[in-house]
């Protein structure tokens, strides 16, 4: 999946990536918005910045994310 800025996503599972930390287990099941996709080369291995509803902004490996709806962020953002 190529994530885009403004896209709604769900943290649907834990990642096996080394960047996944124990505190992130609490985030599984939460919804959020991609605020900074892999900003360079659309690398499936890159960490993407996701803002989770009510839980702050974090960098996640992409294998724990899935899109919620194929819509972009609001106009103007």
């Amino acid at each position: 999946m190529t994530f885009r800025r403004g896209q709604k996503v769900e943290v649907y599972q834990r990642s096996r990536d080394e960047s996944w930390e124990p505190y992130m287990n609490e985030f599984v099941g939460l919804h959020g918005i991609i605020t900074d996709p892999d900003s360079v080369i659309n690398d499936p291995d890159a960490l993407v910045e996701v803002s989770l509803e009510g839980r702050g902004t974090h960098r996640f490996p992409q294998d724990c994310l899935r899109p919620l709806a194929d819509v972009s962020g609001p106009a103007g953002a």
């Binding site: 080394e18 124990p22 505190y23 360079v40 803002s51 509803e53 009510g54 702050g56 609001p74």
Partner: protein, 728 residues
């Protein structure tokens, strides 16, 4: 809000249930439990101070020593376990006045604040800007971010993507409001540093004078540390200065904000290469006790195509931007091709135009949809004349007689690869073509220059060649060495680097003070709970996000003058009035439910409450349907919905948005306030089948009783109608 348990809230619920059940029967034990409940409630309401938690622990101990019965023992165990396992969360509630779970309703943070990697209290400073209090707004911002002006121009504004107003129309222009306030405060001389703690005589070394390094330096200096920043360049700014062109972020702005750090006592050592001029051991012998590594990601990836290695006209975007930032205005070539689709590629392309390149083409291997660059930057580049070539894969650099001819490219199509849910560009056979160029600029990404940290033996690296750290604390594998910013995340954003620097400063302070490190990233701090800006519902709905005034296109193509000219004062004040104040309204929906389901009125059309499925919102509908009964306000858990009588009117407002305003009527006999006509009509409609008290006269209860008393006690206060009596 997400349904995540909060230990503070759970403790209150458990204790309240135990008290209410009556099973804590012993008077002394019950009294102690109630005292604990009062203290916990203070924590949940944001009223607690530093003594609260020790007092709770002492009272739990006291409860345990009061010859407890089985019920009391259970309460003591529950409280003791909860306090021990969640000590950090209780402390965070007291220190930040925010509850990240949202369960403590008064402390639920606004989504924008939670989203900001540096935790800026956005609703507070936006409201202050709306009130014209720019200096105070900048004070609020600088509690969490040392560079409001810089961020006001170049932040990637994740907050705006989470802005609840965006579910109605467009998000609040948070970034530009910040820029407006910072510029105004700097211009008026009211831009100031927060109070600094006394010097503690302890030294911290910071490697790199980029946004992350300088952010850590700022917070450590405020805590009284002697901070030394080692920077290999001759100027401070890092990627702010060397990677972001001046037409987006003028150097003067960086210099002014860096000067504020210098005035705090931060010492900069320029042209000092870590690993060559200084290293960890040398600095430790000079009494440095902790280090923060924020070297960024300044090394470029190569294109890895034939011909690239031996061609001097193939250059790296970061090097190119750096040279221009430091004053080199040499035109790189008449025809420039930039390879890449990120912000750096766009910056390189627009810089080429400004240097005088006649044709600038940006070649990207996917489509516009996948392009990671900021869409506003892409649009501005197109306006200025940059040609965007999508689905284009460079395959070879072509030279003739030692001169670059161009880049041989293939057209591509996006295809799905088996077992993967992302689209990959696949070259189209026979689609080869030559993209003519005098210079090719590679902008396909940066990485960390690991070589500069070779002397730090024992530093752990990830498989992405970034420094391995604990995200919550920025600790590295080396004792006393912390790291954040692009060197940890890979190329990321300015605000993330600032947030990382702030987190590192807190972690370094804990490390040097012997305080245990947190397990979770910090919860942002609420800096105030200020009054609302009062805005009529119609204005709230019709105000639009203002268009940013831009420099004229000819000047944009030819000079490095700042493109975004900033909001006018009127634009900024009006834009701030669009804010919904989500720091107070939780969007729990109780008001909507009670209005619709209990009162049967359905006057609140708040479609923006739901994150996943927002529907239409119209504040103006309320005035048409609302009966001013006040049920919504009475059921609002945070006081966001308010109903008050003032100046002869009953006013219903949500966080300052005036939803309904009705003239108050008075009792015809005694003059007491009865309520607005719509409310009295509503009550009459609901009661007319069972009672008819005052016929057509508007009377208060007391006067109505006087009127009906003459009919005798059996008929008062309500006289049943004959038609009602006949019904079974």
């Amino acid at each position: 809000m997400p349904n995540v348990p909060c230990p503070v809230n759970e403790s209150i619920t458990h204790l309240r249930e135990s008290i209410d059940s009556g099973r804590l029967a012993h008077p002394r034990r019950r009294q102690i439990a109630e005292e604990i409940l009062d203290l916990l409630s203070d924590i949940a309401l944001g009223r607690a101070g530093g003594d609260h938690l020790p007092a709770v622990e002492r009272l739990v101990q006291e409860l345990d020593s009061e010859n407890p019965d089985e019920m009391t023992r259970r309460v003591v165990h529950f409280l003791r376990d909860t306090l021990r396992e969640n000590h950090e969360v209780f402390l965070s509630h007291i220190e930040t006045h925010n509850c990240s779970s949202g369960a403590c309703l008064r402390l639920a943070p606004a989504p924008c604040q939670m989203t900001c990697p540096a935790g800026l209290d956005i609703p507070t400073y936006v409201t202050l800007i709306g009130m014209g209090r720019d200096a105070e707004a900048v004070d609020v911002i600088r509690r969490d971010c040392p560079f409001p002006w810089v961020c006001g121009l170049v932040c990637t504004r994740p907050c705006e993507y989470m802005c609840v107003r965006g579910r109605i129309d467009t998000p609040i222009s948070i970034k530009s409001l910040k820029g407006f306030a910072a510029e105004r405060a700097m211009s008026e001389g009211t831009y100031r540093n927060p109070p600094k703690e006394p010097d503690n005589g302890r030294k911290v070394g910071i490697i790199g004078a980029g946004p992350g390094g300088m952010s850590a330096a700022y917070y450590l200096a405020l805590k009284g540390y002697e901070v030394h920043v080692f920077e290999k360049e001759a100027v401070a700014g890092g990627m702010l200065l060397l990677g972001i062109p001046r037409y987006r972020l003028p150097r003067e702005i960086i210099d002014r904000e860096v000067a504020m750090l210098k005035s705090l006592g931060v010492r900069f050592h320029f042209k000092t290469m870590f690993g060559e001029d200084v290293d960890l051991n040398t600095l430790r012998t000079l009494a440095f006790e902790a280090f923060f590594v924020a070297i960024g990601a300044h090394k470029s990836f190569q294109l890895r195509i034939p011909g690239e290695e031996n061609c001097p006209q193939v250059i790296e975007a970061i090097d190119f931007l750096r040279r221009v930032a430091l004053g080199d205005r040499t035109i790189p070539g008449e025809t420039a091709v930039i390879v890449g689709g990120g912000n750096v590629a766009i910056d390189a392309a627009r810089t080429c135009l400004r240097l005088g390149c006649r044709r600038v083409t940006l070649a990207y291997r996917r489509t516009r949809n996948e392009m990671p660059a900021d869409h506003e930057e892409v649009e501005q580049a197109e306006e200025e004349g940059v040609r965007l070539l999508y689905l284009t894969i460079p395959v070879e650099v072509e030279q003739a007689d030692g001169r670059l001819q161009g880049v041989r490219c293939l057209r591509a199509e996006l295809v799905q690869v088996k077992d993967q849910n992302r689209l990959y560009p696949r070259p189209v056979e026979g689609s080869e073509f030559l993209l003519e160029a005098d210079v090719v600029i590679s902008a396909i990404g940066q990485r960390v220059d690991m070589g500069s940290l070779e002397s730090m033996k024992g530093l752990a690296w990830t498989r992405r060649d970034t420094i391995q750290t604990q995200a919550a604390t920025t600790e590295t594998a080396l004792e006393g060495v912390f790291a954040a910013g692009d060197a940890v995340t890979g190329p990321a954003t300015v605000i993330e680097a600032i947030g990382g620097g702030k987190r590192a400063a807190e972690a370094i302070h804990r490390y040097l003070s012997g305080i245990p490190q947190p397990k979770m990233p910090p919860v942002p701090v609420r800096r105030g709970r200020i009054d609302y800006l009062e805005v009529p519902a119609s204005t709230k709905m019709t105000l639009k996000r203002p268009e940013m005034p831009l420099l004229n296109i000819d000047r944009r193509r030819t000079t490095f003058q700042q493109v975004e000219l900033g909001y006018t004062e009127n634009m900024a004040r009006e834009e701030a009035r669009r804010c919904l104040r989500c720091d107070v309204c939780l969007r729990c929906g109780r008001c909507v439910e009670v209005c619709r389901d209990k009162m049967g009125v359905d006057a609140l059309q708040m479609g923006y409450f739901d994150f996943d499925h927002p529907v239409r919102t119209d504040f103006r509908v309320t005035e048409e349907r609302c009966v001013a009964c006040g049920a919504c306000a009475a059921n609002c858990p945070t006081g966001a919905m308010k109903m008050e009588d003032r100046d002869g009117e009953r006013v219903l407002s949500l966080c300052g948005t005036v939803l309904n305003r009705q003239k108050l009527l008075a009792c015809e006999d005694c003059g007491a306030v009865l309520g607005p006509a719509c409310y009295l009509d509503y009550v009459r409609r609901r009661t007319q089948k069972v009672a008819q008290v005052t016929l057509s006269r508007r009377l208060c209860d007391a006067c109505a009783r006087k009127t009906t008393a003459r009919y005798g006690s059996e008929a008062a206060p309500a006289q049943k109608r004959p038609s009602e009596e006949k019904k079974p």
